[in-house]
Structure formats: structure tokens, C-alpha cells
């Protein structure tokens, strides 16, 4: 049980999900003693809906994925992913080391047939809802074929969790004209235009937040930088607002009066509302919570995982890829 806070956050988040959602059962994986201490502190007990599975090791946040995979056979992360593999759990949620979680998930669950590279997908807030963006950092270099796979996986995910029949899929580029970008994005664009995906063309960085696409596809380097720059700007703006409102008595009074409005706007881009990045392309559901997630944010990640498991995203991705392959062969 990892992340920056461990059981202190995960246990209350689990209890909150159990009381909200009657159709979700949870297995807490980690140091049994630490988990039971947290449960007792909250006057809760293990039950049929809330089991505890002991794991004697923990992957550190700065541990190399290869090291975590090789040397920590009984890490909470590995035990949790194994529960998905053996069918004892429908999904796994972790706030731990992203690279290690992906390496363990790939190694134990394997990728779906037709998928060469799994990707990390997350919903980001937009003007009128949200946009699913992938890859957010699982891959540092993606070929046209990989970008195409990401588009299929993102389209299936958006369709299932948002109930959109044909999600609008855009390809992230540095201009909208066909001639823009590198050969990889141009080739991926040709593949998407020829497919049954609802491909809307090249989009740019600001389109993530505009809401004109349901899914935006990019390589993991670009996606990771875009995500973190966006977080940086949002943080800076919030910081400037806070410091201006703290300036003097008048501005502090203004802050008090404007407080409810400021909080309402902040809710609309509260990163906690968007916590829970999906690892797509694997034979199982794995959701990554932000390492610094608080109780509310972690509960959101558990709900994301439960929604994805219920929607059987891996099976749907598999079916979509297989049908596209048949189409291609029939052509």
C-alpha cells in the first residue's frame, strides 16, 4: 500500500467507497498490522466486503521498475496485481511508483492481443466536461502504429465510461494542417482516417481543455509534459489568486465575500475530481492514483477502477481491435 500517505489515506478512502457504493467490495493489500491499526482507528473491521491481504514488501517511490519486479515478489503492488490476474479481484488501484506498477502489470497481466504498448489514460477537465488523454507517460517514444492503438483504446474507454456511441478522437500536433508535425503523427493520421474510429484530425495543446474532442492521443513524452505543464499553470494561478487576496485587510475581506464563488470555480478543475489514470491495453483493469492523493481523491480512483471493471474495458478493447483487424483483412 503505497503513495505518499499509505494506509492513512487508503483505508478511509476504502471505507468511504464501501458506504457509498453497495456493489463494490474491496481487498486492502499491504502490511496487515498497519492496515488493521487504521481500521481500528476508524472503528471498522475486516468483513466480507472489506478483506485484508498481507504483503510483506513495499515498492519505494524512487525504486527502479526492473528492481521492483525482480526483487520484490511479495510487494503490495505485485500481490494486488496478482489478485486481478488470478481472478480474485476485478481491478487494482495503487498510488505507488507509476513505472513499477506498469512494469508489474505488463509482466503479470500481459498486453491484450493486438496491443503492442499499453498506455496511461486520464480524463482532464474541459470547458464542458472532460477529455480523455493518452498516453500520459507509459511510453517515451511511440510509432504511428502505437498512436493508432492508443486512439482505439481511448475511444473504447470514452465510449464505455461516458456512454458516447462514437467518441471524437483527435491527434495531438503542433498545428492543424495536414503538413504539420512529424512523420509519425502524419502516418497515424492516415491510419485513423482509414479506420472506423471517429477521427476529427489534428488538435493542439489548448484543445485538451476546449472540449471539442472526447479523446486526444499523443506519445507519452508529449502527454506527460502537457499534463504537468497544465498542473503547473493551474497551481501558479491559484497561488497568485491566494497571494493577492492575502495582500491587505481590504483584499482579505474581498476574499471572504468571493470565497464561495472562488471555491465553486476551483471545484471545476479540482485535480482530485480527476484522480485515477487508467492503464489501458492490459488483460485486466489497473488504475493509478496520484501519489499525493488525499482521501477524496483516492476514493475517486477506486470508483474509476470499479466503473472500468464493470464496463469490461479490456474485453471491449480486444473486441474493437479484432473487428478492425477483420475489416482490414476483408478490404
Amino acid at each position: 500500500m503505497g503513495g505518499d500517505h499509505g494506509p492513512e489515506v487508503v483505508v478511509p478512502a476504502a471505507l468511504s467507497v464501501l458506504s457509498d457504493s453497495a456493489d463494490v467490495d474491496l481487498i486492502l493489500v499491504g502490511d496487515r498490522d498497519a492496515i488493521e491499526v487504521e481500521l481500528r482507528r476508524r472503528r471498522a473491521l475486516p468483513s466480507e466486503r472489506l478483506q485484508v491481504r498481507h504483503a510483506s514488501q513495499q515498492v519505494e517511490m524512487d525504486e527502479l521498475p526492473s528492481q521492483a519486479l525482480r526483487a520484490k515478489k511479495d510487494s503490495s503492488m505485485r500481490v494486488a496485481v496478482d489478485l486481478v490476474k488470478e481472478g480474485s479481484a476485478d481491478a487494482c488501484v495503487s498510488a505507488g511508483n507509476t513505472g513499477a506498477l506498469m512494469a508489474i502489470a505488463r509482466f503479470l497481466l500481459k498486453t491484450l492481443p493486438g496491443v503492442d504498448r499499453p498506455a496511461i489514460c486520464s480524463a482532464l477537465p474541459s470547458m464542458d466536461g472532460h477529455t480523455h488523454v493518452l498516453d500520459l507517460g507509459a511510453n517515451v517514444e511511440s510509432s504511428a502504429r502505437h498512436l493508432f492503438e492508443f486512439a482505439v483504446m481511448g475511444s473504447v474507454l470514452a465510449s464505455a465510461v461516458d456512454n458516447i456511441p462514437r467518441p471524437r478522437v483527435g491527434l495531438l500536433n503542433i498545428g492543424q494542417e495536414e503538413t504539420k508535425g512529424n512523420e509519425r503523427v502524419r502516418e497515424a493520421a492516415r491510419m485513423l482516417a482509414d479506420s472506423e474510429i471517429h477521427y476529427i484530425g489534428f488538435v493542439e495543446g489548448d484543445d485538451v481543455y476546449r472540449g471539442n474532442a472526447n479523446v486526444i492521443v499523443c506519445d507519452g513524452f508529449v502527454g506527460n509534459v502537457a499534463l504537468k505543464s497544465s498542473e503547473g499553470v493551474a497551481h501558479m494561478i491559484t497561488h497568485f489568486l491566494r497571494s493577492e487576496f492575502q495582500r491587505n485587510l481590504f483584499t482579505r475581506a474581498a476574499a471572504w465575500i468571493a470565497g464561495p464563488v472562488l471555491r465553486a470555480s476551483r471545484t471545476r478543475f479540482d485535480p482530485r475530481e480527476y484522480n485515477g489514470a487508467s492503464f489501458v491495453g492490459l488483460r485486466g483493469t489497473v488504475v493509478k492514483s496520484h501519489g499525493s492523493a488525499d482521501v477524496k481523491a483516492y476514493a475517486r480512483a477506486i470508483k474509476e477502477a470499479s466503473a472500468e471493471a464493470r464496463q469490461k474495458i479490456p474485453e471491449r478493447i480486444s473486441a474493437q481491435l479484432a473487428s478492425m483487424l477483420v475489416d482490414r483483412e476483408a478490404m
Copy 2:
């Protein structure tokens, strides 16, 4: 004279710079009639400090750079860059088509010795000042050597315009550990660590806004996406704030009271304050204004160009590269 607004914005911006800065003279390049109409509307006349140079053509915003270069020998953009080439002007500012401006500038001015690829560099707001980021889109694919050149050019620019003896230079990556990222950034990191640049290591997307680096280097695809995502988030947050403050009578009253504070915070990340991206690596100073710049923003771009010309950035970049080459050979 291009951009989305043409002389309507450029002429008043020029007049405002002339009245603010006694040591700047300007040449307005474009359709003479259109420029003179705008001058008359503002009761101004051409003078020794404000000359008008006629150009019979204009590069369109969606025109292919190759087309603009080949077919428009008398475009305002080309005539303006030519003035720099022949020494009649110390710098050129344009709000027109970025790709065409870069193509024309490369063709007429040429790159500096030791520079393989020019880059686009802009200052972005940070918690405690600003960060120079390059490349923002001149190149879609950059080798380690190119990233290294960008670092040298950005360091020289930051040192000269911000008067920092040894600017802190970071390399944008998707993690801070040495093992992260692709081979290009890792190789560039080794080159920078071996150089006299004050290299601080890998930085991530949110570091652009944190202020821990004076210069952040990345390839043009990544930089462009980071810039536009950031603009998108800032726009979305402003939009949410505005719509929440418009919700009802109470929130509108709150907006009125909080108005000065909100405006003060907005000034700190007002894109107009940061308008003016430098084309670095050329034998001459060229500054690109945002296409949609208003008068204040365009005036800011002119001042950026005049500061760079005064600081002789191209000569300094040349000298720095040459000294590093000598060091390398001496090793």
C-alpha cells in the same frame, strides 16, 4: 504587416513605443496606403523616427512557408527581414505566419556559425519571475546536439536580457532521474553536464511555472504542446471564474468587490506581458508577436526586439558557441 489585425494594431503599438522609448526608431513595412490611413486616424505622420516602407504583398496566415518564400518576394515580412539583413534595421517584429517568418528569416539571414537549427524562445511567467523556454515549435524533431545548441542560445539570451551571470538551465523530461526519457534527452544531458553551461538537470512540465530554472530546453513539438496546453488551462480557469461570478446577483456583487484583486492576479499571468517570441540562432534579431496580439501586446513585442538588438544577442550566442568549441578542442 500581418497578424490577425494588421496596421490597426501595429500602428498604434508603434506610436506607443515611440512615445515611451526615445532610443527606438521604427520602420513600418506593409501597404503604404493602409499604414498612412492608420497614421492619419491617429494624427501622426511619418518622420525620421517613424518611416514607412511599402511592400506590395502579404503572406497569408495559412500559407505554406515554401510558397511564401518562393512566390512572395515583395511580402511585408520578407521586406522587413531584408532590412535587418542589409543593416537598415537592427531587428524585425512580425505578427504573421510563424512558419513563413522562420523560413524567410533562415533563408535571408542564415544561421549563426555553429548553429544547425534556429529555435523559438519565449519567456513564460513563473512563481517568482519568468522562465525562458525553447524550442516552442521551430523544429519538430531535435537531436541531442540541437537540444544542446538550444541550451547555449537560451542561456545567452537569459543572461543578456535578465542580467543573470549564469542562468540555471534545465532539460525538459518526464522525470528527474537520469534513467528517464529518451536517448536524445539523456545524451543532451551528458553534453550539458560536460559544458560550461550552468546545467541543473532534468526538469518536468510544472517546473516551467515554478521558477527553479531560468531556461528550460525541449524539442519544438514538446515545447509547442506545453505552451498551448498551458494557455488552454489558463483560459479555462479564467472562463470558469468569470462564469461563476456571473451566476447570480450575489456572485456579481462579489465580483465587483473582488474585481481589483482578480485583475491584479490576472496581470501576473497576462499573456500580453509575455508577447514576443525570439527566433534565436540567426544572424539577426527577429521577434514573433502572437497573431492575435492587441496594441499593448504588440508594443511589448517591439520592446523585446529592441532590447535584444541592443544586447546584440546573435553576436553573444556566436561568441559563446565559439568559446565552447575552443574549450572542447583544448580538452
